[in-house]
Symmetry: C2
Subunit: 313 residues, 2 copies
């Protein structure tokens, strides 16, 4: 890819410099998308790291200073603080600028951030469906968004030009972009992200609490399947607390179905209904195949994990 | 690694040539562990493939012919058929030989296979805790067992020399070996393997059944976490049906705890108990770190999955 001769935005402000914020810095630099990247982070250590490793052009303790004169403001903090952040920066937002976020829930963002968005500033919530289990300013990398979907949930009366500009921005970051109703987004992501995280956290917790099986045994024999769950159960606790508190309705709806289905499986096991188990276990394989074909997963067995040393002969 | 000058066993018979059976063929050949590998598979297609790709030295439609004169017989078929298989091959087993398996449950193997093990044949059940989501004779590879644990559950009166020989065999395959009581094995694996598979199958099924979210949406946004679960939910349905039917007690016990814990999380979400969620989500991260340190998982973020094209600059 080549750098654009003219940056897409003269000044971009990132509020929060964790995995997503720092990955945005890397890809914006690679693609030449921003004339100036201004960063804000609550912790001094993060601000120092951001300057040291060259994530940003300027770093600001005060989020108001970061967003001042910015053409694009991206809130990259946990969803639970976005309302307060928006209230803080509101007076400093530049008329005509785009205000967006990267949160995993969108209805709450529209409500919480929308309440503090001044007239003339274009609020277009966004959610790049991409991540790793790592956090912090040093966990980012430019390829994080490559071929992943970024969902925009513009309000009905959103400025179409602003929507198009944000869409072009995410495409330049490597993403595919989809527009969606915020409420539907929250339901879809409850299925594809929030409930998977919840049950991953839960099984890891259940395993840790057993009196009859030691943690050492859980660790040694985790290659039987358990270790797959520990990846997303290692995700950032603050971010995920906020997701569940802010997408309660959809999460409880999908969770209700999950536990209902699980009870049916439990009953089939108790009563020895092998055919029901076989049918259930047979109809899930094709979904992975489709995910691979859709470019959302590696085709390599076992996620392409290394298995021992390479063969010699 | 170097080939042994003298094979560890003159003739090894493999009953079943799926992922585990074919991986054993590859590693036995690489390490020179068997003078002759005799294979049996129910399906003609598998038998033909096994000969074509050179997995075995001889292939047999009749399992009795495969085990005849074998010094080591390894049952690599789903747990549900092992009793019937043992009954079939029993008259053909060589006195002094070792009879073992690779099943994910062990109490049932001791009962079902033990009932048909002739005097003078050493039954030593085994479970290599290793696998991928792939199946069939072409899915095997020599490194599958490298640094993974293989659990032996010898009966109390087992011949110690035979146990040592099987232990040496699995070590030569690259495994670390642990001896364990069969009942404890079944409980440990219920936690580290069986329940993870069950909830993975379940969430994939729940997602497929939603009327309000399309399968296409589930696939597109699976990188939010869901895709991690689809890997083990793509595992062999026959094998897993048999696991659940044959480890009912331990599975129901651990599943009961899992759903109890999940109900507590559900309640915390409903009532907005953020502190409880945060505490729960904070105490699971270290387990992954310990799994990485124990050599049972890659340290690379996101399982080392590829993220887009390599950076150019």
């Amino acid at each position: 890819m080549t750098k654009n001769s003219q940056p897409m935005f003269e000044r971009v402000a990132l509020i929060g410099l964790g995995l997503i914020g720092s990955s945005l810095c890397h890809v914006m630099r690679r693609e030449g998308l921003a004339g100036h990247i201004a960063g804000n982070a609550r912790s001094q250590a993060t601000r120092e790291t951001a300057m040291r490793i060259g994530l940003v052009d300027s770093v600001h303790e005060d989020p108001k200073a970061a967003v001042s004169d910015a053409d694009l403001v991206i809130l990259c903090a946990p969803v639970g603080v976005l309302g307060a952040l928006a209230e803080t920066i509101s007076p400093s937002l530049k008329p005509g600028s785009i205000l967006t976020d990267v949160g995993s829930v969108k209805m709450a963002v529209i409500t919480d951030v929308g309440a503090h968005t001044p007239d003339g500033v274009h609020l277009i919530p966004a959610h790049p469906v991409a991540g790793t289990e790592q956090s912090g300013p040093e966990s980012g990398f430019a390829e994080l968004f490559e071929d992943r979907w970024c969902i925009l949930t513009p309000p009905k009366d959103a400025d179409q030009n602003a929507v198009k500009r944000l869409e072009a921005f995410w495409q330049a970051c490597g993403s595919r972009v989809e527009l969606m109703d915020a409420q539907h987004h929250d339901l879809v992501l409850a299925v594809t992200s929030h409930i998977p995280h919840l049950i991953a956290y839960n099984i890891v917790g259940t395993a840790a609490d057993l009196e009859t099986v030691t943690e050492s045994e859980v660790i040694k024999y985790s290659a039987g399947g358990f270790r797959d769950f520990t990846r997303i159960a290692a995700s950032d606790p603050t971010m995920w607390r906020d997701v569940f508190l802010n997408n309660k309705e959809a999460v409880l709806e999908v969770l209700g179905r999950f536990t209902e289905d699980l009870a049916a499986l439990q009953r089939a096991i108790r009563w020895g209904h092998g055919d029901m188990l076989f049918d259930m276990f047979s109809r899930t394989r094709h979904i992975r195949q489709n995910i691979v074909e859709a470019g959302q997963e590696t085709a390599a067995p076992d996620f392409g994990r290394p298995h021992g040393a390479p063969e010699e002969d």
